[in-house]
C-alpha cells in the first residue's frame, strides 16, 4: 500500500460488502467528496475476506493505512470526519491498521495470502492497479526469457500445487499430460462453477482479482500450447462475470490476450466467459464440458480424460479458479517459495470460506498444515455466543463432518481424508450444540439427491431411499434397523456411481454415523432430538412457576392446544399440540419449555 499525499478512501464492494450495504456507504462518501469539505480520493476495491465486519472502509494517508469495520451508511461519515479532524485512528472502530494495533489483528496475522494476494488491495476493474501488484509479470517473464514449456510445467510440478477444486490432483502432472498430446487444437478451462452451497472462495477471487485468474490461464495456455481459454462461471455470480469481462477486455487491449501474446510469435490466446445455468453436477469436469457444448450437463465415463478428449473432443486442461490464481505467484516467486508452506504432500495455502456458528465468518487463506482448532479459535474467534463447538463440515455435500474432539486435525489432503471428510473446495461450516447432525446430513443429502443428474441408478434412487430414511428418523419414525440400512445403501451408492457426485453423496451421512451415532440412537430409540431441532420429536410444556398468564401463547397457538385464562397458569394439551414451536417463540417470560 503506497501512501500518497492526498488521502485515499477505499470502500470494499464485493458481493458480500454490497449485501451488507457497502453501496450506500460508497454513495455517502461520494457525496462527502463532492461537497469539497475534505480533499481525498475515493476508490473501490473488492472483498478482503472479513465478512463479519462488512462494510469495510480503508483510509490511507501519510500515517499509513487503517481499515474501519461496520461502516454502514449511518456511521461512516462521523468516523471519517473524526479521522480527518483529529488525524488519528478513531478509537474502537479500526479493525486493522499498518501503524497501530487494532481489534482484528489476529484474523489478519494468521493468514498467508497467495491466491488472494490482491483481493481487497486493488480496484478489480483497473488493470493498472493490478499491474502495480505484479499482475502479468509472470507471463512477461516467461515470454521474454523464452522459458521452455516443459520448464514452466516443471516449476508447477516442483511447487507441489494440487487442484483446489476438490480433487487435489497435482496440477503440473495434469498439464504434462495435456502438453504431451500432439493435437493442434487444445483448450484451457477455468472451472468457476463453485457449487458447494456455503462456499464463496472462487467468487471472491474472481470479483477481487480477475487478472490473477486470467494470467494463470494464459500461462497454462502457453505451457500446453492451447489457443483458447473458457471460464465456466455460475450464472448466480453476476458481479464476477461482469468484472471478468472487463478484465478480459483490458488484457486484450494491453496485448496480454489475442493474436501473438505480448508480441510472441506462435502464441495466441483468447479467453471468454461461458455462463452456467444452475446445475451443481456441471462442476464435474465432463459434465461441464457437455454443458459448454450446449447439452444437458451429464457426466460421462473416464477415461478418456479431458487431457486426451475434452471439449469438442480435443485435449483440454481444466483447473479450478483458485488453482489458476496460484500459478502466476509460483512463477514469480519460484517453486521453493510456494513449497515452503504446507506439509509433505500438501503444499502452499488453501482458501476457506468460514461460516456457520462462528464469530468471525469470512474468507481466510491459511498455510496447509494449520490445525482446525487454530482456524476456528485463532482466526475465527471461536463460537458465536460462546456456545460449545460441536463439529465442522468440510467439503460441503461431498464432504463430511469432523467432530470437536478431532479439532487438532491438520488441514492437508491426507489428514482430512483420514477422518472421512474431504478437503473439498474450501467450504468450512462450523456447528455448535444447537445443530442437529442428522438434520444436517439430511440437508446435504437432500441437496445431492436433488442435483443428481439421474444417469446412475444408485445415485438417482439410492440417495432418495437414504433421504427417506433420514426423514423418517427426524420425524420420530426411525426403526432399529435404519442405521444399518443407511450404511448398506451408502456403500452401494459409493461403489456404483459414475461420477464424484454419487461417489461422495453418502459422506455426510457416513461421517455423522461415525462420530455422532449417539444422536441417531437418541432419535431412533428415545424419539428425542438432543439439539432440539427436529420439531416432531420435541415436547412443549409450560412452567407454572414462570407463566404470568399473559395469554399471548394461547392466541398464537394454531391448533388451540393451550388452555388458561388471563392471569392464570396456562397449560398445553399434548394430544392437540402440533409442535409448531410458536408458543416457545412468543413467550416473553421463558415459561415455555422444550425437551
Amino acid at each position: 500500500m503506497e501512501t500518497s499525499i492526498k488521502p485515499k478512501i477505499i470502500v470494499g464492494l464485493g458481493s458480500c460488502g454490497i449485501a451488507a450495504g457497502a453501496a450506500k456507504t460508497y454513495d455517502k462518501l461520494l457525496a462527502l467528496s463532492q461537497s469539497g469539505k475534505y480533499d481525498f480520493e475515493l476508490a473501490k476495491t473488492s472483498c478482503i475476506g472479513m465478512c463479519y465486519k462488512e462494510p469495510l472502509v480503508e483510509v490511507q494517508d501519510k500515517a499509513g493505512s487503517v481499515i474501519y469495520g461496520d461502516m454502514t451508511d449511518d456511521k461512516v461519515i462521523a468516523v471519517i470526519e473524526e479521522h480527518f479532524a483529529t488525524d488519528k485512528i478513531v478509537a474502537g472502530m479500526a479493525v486493522h491498521s499498518s501503524y497501530s494495533e487494532a481489534s482484528e489483528d489476529a484474523y489478519f496475522n494468521g493468514q498467508v495470502k497467495i491466491a488472494l494476494r490482491n483481493c481487497g488491495y486493488i480496484d478489480p476493474e483497473s488493470i493498472e492497479e493490478a499491474e502495480n501488484r505484479e499482475a502479468y509479470k509472470a507471463i512477461r517473464h516467461i515470454l521474454k526469457s523464452e522459458m521452455k514449456q516443459m520448464d514452466v510445467i516443471q516449476t508447477i510440478l516442483d511447487s507441489g500445487l494440487r487442484g483446489r477444486g476438490g480433487g487435489g490432483f497435482p496440477t503440473g502432472m495434469k498439464w504434462k499430460f495435456a502438453f504431451q498430446n500432439e493435437n493442434k487444437q487444445k483448450y484451457i478451462i477455468c472451472n468457476a462453477d463453485e457449487g458447494d452451497p456455503g462456499a464463496f472462495m472462487d467468487r471472491s477471487l474472481l470479483e477481487g482479482d480477475p487478472h490473477a485468474v486470467l494470467e494463470g490461464m494464459i500461462i497454462g495456455g502457453y505451457a500446453i500450447s492451447a489457443s483458447t481459454g473458457i471460464i465456466y462461471c455460475r450464472a448466480e455470480y453476476p458481479l464476477a462475470i461482469k468484472r471478468l469481462n472487463i478484465a478480459i477486455k483490458q488484457a486484450f487491449d494491453k496485448g496480454y490476450l489475442g493474436q501473438n501474446v505480448m508480441g510472441k510469435e506462435n502464441f495466441s490466446f483468447d479467453i471468454y466467459v461461458k455462463e452456467g445455468a444452475g446445475a451443481f453436477v456441471c462442476g464435474e469436469e465432463t459434465a461441464l464440458i457437455a454443458s459448454i457444448e450446449g447439452q444437458r450437463g451429464m457426466p460421462r465415463k473416464r477415461p478418456p480424460f479431458p487431457a486426451v478428449s475434452g471439449l469438442w473432443k480435443k485435449p483440454t486442461n481444466i483447473n479450478n479458479v483458485e488453482t489458476w490464481g496460484n500459478v502466476p505467484w509460483i512463477i514469480n516467486h519460484g517453486a521453493p517459495a510456494y513449497a515452503a508452506y504446507g506439509t509433505t504432500k500438501s503444499k502452499g495455502t488453501k482458501v476457506f470460506a468460514l461460516t456457520g456458528k462462528i464469530k468471525h465468518g469470512g474468507l481466510v487463506e491459511v498455510p496447509m498444515g494449520i490445525t482446525i482448532n487454530d482456524i476456528i479459535y485463532k482466526l475465527g474467534g471461536g463460537i458465536q455466543n460462546d456456545k460449545k463447538f460441536k463439529a465442522v463440515q468440510l467439503g460441503g455435500p461431498s464432504g463430511g463432518c469432523i467432530p470437536a474432539e478431532l479439532g487438532h486435525t491438520i488441514v492437508d489432503y491426507d489428514s482430512v481424508n483420514a477422518t472421512g471428510a474431504i478437503m473439498g473446495s474450501g467450504g468450512m461450516v462450523v456447528m455448535d450444540e444447537t445443530t442437529c447432525m442428522i438434520d444436517l446430513a439430511k440437508f446435504f443429502l437432500h441437496f445431492t439427491q436433488d442435483e443428481s443428474c439421474g444417469k446412475c441408478t444408485f445415485c438417482r434412487i439410492g440417495t432418495k431411499r437414504m433421504l427417506e430414511i433420514l426423514e423418517r428418523i427426524t420425524e420420530g419414525k426411525g426403526e432399529p434397523a435404519d442405521m444399518e440400512k443407511l450404511e448398506t445403501l451408502a456403500d452401494q451408492i459409493k461403489n456404483n456411481s459414475l461420477c464424484g457426485l454419487g461417489q461422495t453423496a453418502p459422506n455426510p451421512v457416513l461421517t455423522t454415523l461415525k462420530y455422532f451415532r449417539h444422536e441417531y440412537e437418541a432419535h431412533i430409540f428415545h424419539k428425542k432430538c438432543p439439539a432440539k431441532v427436529c420439531k416432531p420429536l420435541l415436547t412443549y410444556t409450560i412452567d407454572a412457576e414462570k407463566c404470568t398468564g399473559c395469554t399471548v401463547c394461547g392466541k398464537k397457538c394454531p391448533s388451540s392446544a393451550i388452555e388458561g385464562g388471563r392471569k392464570t397458569t396456562h397449560s398445553i394439551h399434548q394430544d392437540k399440540c402440533i409442535k409448531c414451536g410458536e408458543c416457545f417463540t412468543v413467550c416473553k417470560f421463558d415459561a415455555v419449555l422444550v425437551e
Binding site: 455462463e275 446445475a279 459448454i292 450437463g297 456458528k357 465468518g361 469470512g362 467450504g427 440437508f443 436433488d450
Partner: protein
C-alpha cells in the same frame, strides 16, 4: 433428481401470448455457432422472464435442434423457468450457512404470509417465492434477496416485515 424440474400438469399455468419477434436478433447472434443452445435459452428467458412454450418450436426451427432436446436442456438446468413468474421474486437462501442458522423458519414465515408454497407464485401475479443456494453473504445468514437487495440476520418475523414493506410500496406505486 433433475427430472423434478418438469412441472406437473397441476401447476402448469395459463401462459400469456407472447410476441416472439424479438428473438430474431438472438438467432442472428448465435447462428452457426456451436454450443449456443444454452445462451439462446438464457437470452429468451432474459426477454420474457421465462421460456414461453412456442419459443421451443421456433428455436428448433431456427437451429435444427430437435424440440425434445431443447426441452431436455431447459428442464435440466435450474435457471430455466417454463412458467411466468411474479413481478417480485423473493429468494430465500437455503445454503449451508443459512440452513444452520434456521433458514427454514424464514421460508415457513414467508409461505404463511403470502399463502403460497415454495416455488409458487401468488394468484395476483405479484410474488414468486423461491429457495436458492448460497447468495454469497453467509456471514449475514439467514438471508433473503428481493431484486438486488439482500436482507440479512433475519428471523421469521423480520422476514415477514420485509415482505409487508414491499407489498406496501407496491400498493403505493399503483
Amino acid at each position: 433428481m433433475r427430472i423434478h424440474r418438469i412441472p406437473s400438469e397441476k401447476v402448469k399455468q395459463e401462459q400469456p401470448s407472447v410476441d416472439l419477434s424479438p428473438l430474431a436478433h438472438l438467432f442472428e447472434k448465435y447462428r452457426n455457432k456451436s454450443g449456443s443452445l444454452i445462451p439462446l435459452l438464457q437470452g429468451t428467458q432474459h426477454l420474457y422472464g421465462f421460456i414461453p412454450a412456442p419459443a421451443f418450436d421456433l428455436i428448433s426451427k431456427e437451429t435444427g435442434i430437435e424440440t425434445a432436446d431443447i426441452y431436455g436442456v431447459a428442464t435440466f438446468y435450474a435457471q430455466f423457468r417454463l412458467n411466468p413468474v411474479g413481478k417480485v421474486i423473493i429468494k430465500v437462501c437455503h445454503g449451508t450457512a443459512c440452513h444452520v442458522q434456521n433458514a427454514n423458519a424464514i421460508t415457513d414465515a414467508v409461505q404463511d404470509e403470502l399463502e403460497v408454497k415454495d416455488g409458487e407464485t401468488t394468484p395476483d401475479g405479484l410474488f414468486t417465492l423461491e429457495s436458492v443456494a448460497c447468495l454469497g453473504c453467509c456471514s449475514l445468514a439467514p438471508v433473503l434477496m428481493i431484486g438486488d437487495n439482500s436482507y440479512g440476520k433475519l428471523t421469521g418475523k423480520s422476514a415477514v416485515k420485509v415482505v409487508r414493506d414491499i407489498k406496501e410500496t407496491m400498493k403505493n406505486e399503483n
